[in-house]
Symmetry: C2
Subunit: 418 residues, 2 copies
Amino acid sequence: MTLKEDIQRLGKQARVAAHRLATLTTDQKNQCLQAMAEGLLKASDIIQKANEQDLGVGRTAGLSAAMLDRLALNDKRISAMAAGLREVAALPDPVGRVLEDRTRPNGLRLQKVAVPIGVIAFIYESRPNVTADAAGLCLKAGNAVILRGGKEAIQSNRAIANVLLDSGAGAGLPANAVQLVQTTDREAVRELVQLTGLVDVVIPRGGEALIRAVTENARVPVIKHYKGVCHVYVDRDADLDMAERIVLNAKCQRPAVCNAMETLLVDEAVAKTFLPRIANALLAKKVELRGDDATRELIAAAKAATEADWSTEYGDLIINIRVVADVDAAIAHINHYGSQHSDAIVTRDRAAADRFLREVDSAAVYHNASTRFTDGGEFGMGAEVGISTDKIGVRGPMGLEELTAYKWIVEGTGQVRE
Amino acid sequence: MTLKEDIQRLGKQARVAAHRLATLTTDQKNQCLQAMAEGLLKASDIIQKANEQDLGVGRTAGLSAAMLDRLALNDKRISAMAAGLREVAALPDPVGRVLEDRTRPNGLRLQKVAVPIGVIAFIYESRPNVTADAAGLCLKAGNAVILRGGKEAIQSNRAIANVLLDSGAGAGLPANAVQLVQTTDREAVRELVQLTGLVDVVIPRGGEALIRAVTENARVPVIKHYKGVCHVYVDRDADLDMAERIVLNAKCQRPAVCNAMETLLVDEAVAKTFLPRIANALLAKKVELRGDDATRELIAAAKAATEADWSTEYGDLIINIRVVADVDAAIAHINHYGSQHSDAIVTRDRAAADRFLREVDSAAVYHNASTRFTDGGEFGMGAEVGISTDKIGVRGPMGLEELTAYKWIVEGTGQVRE
């Protein structure tokens, strides 16, 4: 079988599974999720053995300590995967929600009802826990999923997928509801995103190269989970104590995640007061500072920021700093260099806040709060498969409700159109 | 300037316009729409003169009478375009709707608010009235639009677009809020759908070749308005009088539109009773019948339907007829051959209806009503740019609300993440 045929087979099998998944009750889906959680706990040793293989290959290949840490599984991380599946089981079923209900003058009753999307292709990078998280969320929303993880995690992903399938099957999980692409050949992604009529949506979650590979080849709809180049703008009317707390939190509390801040914008009216102070606080947290000329006049420790720096997601303790003329300049900078993810203004000026919230074209816009809150859990959605940086279909955290589509159900008594 | 540069220029101009459009008030947008309606009426002669050029070229090129009719503009059709813009002005503004509003335990207030999508590229075929309809709807939803019509209608489209721009400008329409691609070069579509970062969504509305050209080349999100291969299934428990009324309406009332029926499926339990009767009624309306073997045993007048016929949108007085074993076979046929547009079951059996409504994977599913109701006006949305056959973003009629995206606005008092 060629690679193309093999990927098509996955698509066809998923289509059949999607049809069956759409007819499962909430209880049936929850039983599968509970069994899968149980299965992960029982197979913890097997999964860790597979993970050791990946770590061995990774060490030989010279992966960084940070990458090896993302790849590593232990009892605690496997328990967390199982707990994640149980949490998804406890969440309300997003399928069948009546989103609109209207009766027309001719007596036709229209209901807009949430339905599963169908078949989701989920393409991600190195963390193997995503395999269980995405499978669980897709299942609860009634979708068949085709998983394609990073090649660094292939043995771990295979072990996890096998456990999910075996334990799910015992609880009535339809065959092929969850499928893992077994090959690490990059060509597989290309084939997967061209399965028109078999795959309903592709969700790529990762860096520039992954997103480019998907969007350049896709013939099915894509919901991108792209990088987070997030900003905090400190306005002339900011409470500077609050601004310091928010900047430190957005940059330092967990710099590796997508909703962490990369660039600090400071209103020139408060730059002289605020910049030396925030620089000291950031340096105390071992943050590397990169700034524009105006910033470097006020902060000797700052390196010069390059043009490319302004649109870079460091995921690390590095920050860009720029002095801007006013809120308009801040908005313009963000809309030009940002990734439409999460951006914040700190100010006491209601008018400036309103302009920022309206004109910054990002999934989440904040007034007087840290960008770190862009997250399914923090938004009250429960778990999520990631943060969409697209505008069509889903924007921001993609939880269970965002993993559904809708249809219009029309009930008549013989109505015909005049 | 190369074609590529020219199309990029349109994209950049649209992006600037989108930023300005997002800040217009409802009144400002409505004033533009009223002025544009006024402008169309005043320029009726100029538009008809341009239209004459298109019709002349079309006649020489041997366009069919039906195509020439779709292309033709007269006083009545131009008045209808103007009335359409006024109707859009009268509809509620879809921007700024608060879709969700929640306060989290930490005091953060989250609002999910409808915002313009941004820049829409709208690609359509021969009807020139679409130029005004799409421009009006996009404007009301705060979007900049790049219009690309069929080459048969280029002079008419240019005349209409010029009138809209001139009259809109006098009422405060931002520059480049509405732009028409001036070239008829097909390469322009390719460039347009690759404008990542400049175009937020492409809406192709048309036949197989157009949709293929767009999806094969697109690097920006696409919402397809594809063909309507719609079905009516007459179940064993149907009221056959009602079934006859619905079938005749769905097929004959306006066969050229996308929500008209192409294929009739009849439960074998009622085929002997229903088929001869519906055949006579359809023949009386001059409908050409094409059937499977079982149908042709009961209806001598029916030609043999080919495999390709089952997935063809005739848009004409031709019908496919197939005898099926039961509701399951009907569902399987529709999910295999249909275009996920509009499909109906006629039955008194609640269980059969529920299965059909749940398992047929189409934008609109009907019980005891004609498929012809899939329409923004009939659904109570007001005007629409078309019917989406996609599942991501929008499904079914695409009206003003469906021309918006959303963002999350988060108001805090200094919250940081622990």
